[in-house]
Subunit: 131 residues, 2 copies
Amino acid sequence: MIKTNRGFSESLEDYLEAIYVLGGQNVRSVDLANRLGVSRASVNKAVNSLIEKQLVEKERYGGIYLTAFGRATSQGVEKKHQILKHFLTDVLGVPEATANLEACGIEHIISADTAKRIEKLIEAKKKNDPR
Amino acid sequence: MIKTNRGFSESLEDYLEAIYVLGGQNVRSVDLANRLGVSRASVNKAVNSLIEKQLVEKERYGGIYLTAFGRATSQGVEKKHQILKHFLTDVLGVPEATANLEACGIEHIISADTAKRIEKLIEAKKKNDPR
DNA sequence: CCACAATGTTAGACTTGGCTAACAATCGGA
DNA sequence: TCCGATTGTTAGCCAAGTCTAACATTGTGG
C-alpha cells in the first residue's frame, strides 16, 4: 500500500540482487531463473525492465552485465540483506534458513539509515558478548 | 518472490489491520479508503476478498465487521506492528514517522516467533537502560 | 560438423490490486 | 419530508509480474 521503496519494485530488486550475487558479469538467465524459482520467460521480462532502468546491459542471446549504477544499487540491497541476516541469527537467534527468508523481504523495506542503526546494534552486542 | 506470508497478501493484511484499528465493528468503507489512501472502489474489491476468506462480514450497503477469525488474524498483524514500531524508535532511535512506515512493511514479513524475539530484545534493553 | 540439448525470446493468458466514471442507496439538515 | 451530499457498488480499464507453449538461437559431444 504505502511505498517505502526507493524507486524499484521489490521484484526487480530481487532480480538485481541475484545478478550481483551471481557475479554481476556474463550472468545467464537460466541461472537467475533457478536461483529465484521463476521461469526463463519471467527472467527475460524482468531483465528488459532492468535494462530500461539502466541497471544492467545485455546483448541479444548474450550474458547480463551490471552497469555501475546497477552494481551500486545491488550492493546496497545485498548489504542490507547481510546486516539483517546477522541481526536475525546472531542477535535474535533465529534459525539461519528463516533468517535468510525474512531478510529477503525486509531488505526491500528498510532505509539505509535504519540498516546502519541495526549494524551498530550488532557491533554493540558483539562487544558485550563476544562469542 | 519467495513468499514468507501466512496465507494472505500484504495488501489484504493492510486492509484487515485497518479494519481492526478502526474498531472492527460497523467500519465504513470511506474511512478505510481515507486511512489507506485508496479509492472507495478499491476498498470494495478488497473487502469482498476478505469476505470470501471469511475474515470479515458485511451486508450490502452496511458496515464491516471482523469475524472471530479476522479479529485474531488482524490482532496478530497489529501486534507485530507495535513491536516493530517500538523496536525501531526505542531501541534503534528511528524517527517515529519512518518507524511507522517501515513497521508497516515488515509486519507482513516476519513470523510470530521473530516478533516475539524482538519483543524480548526490547524488554532487555528497558532493563539495562530504563529511561 | 552437425544434430540434439540447452538456453533465450516471444506471444498470449491469468491474477492481483490499483484507478475513474457512472450509477444506486442512504443519510441528514432545512 | 425530501433533496442534495455522502457513501457504497459496479463496470471497465490498466500495469506488474507471473506462467506455459512455441519458436529461435547457441553450444557441444559423438
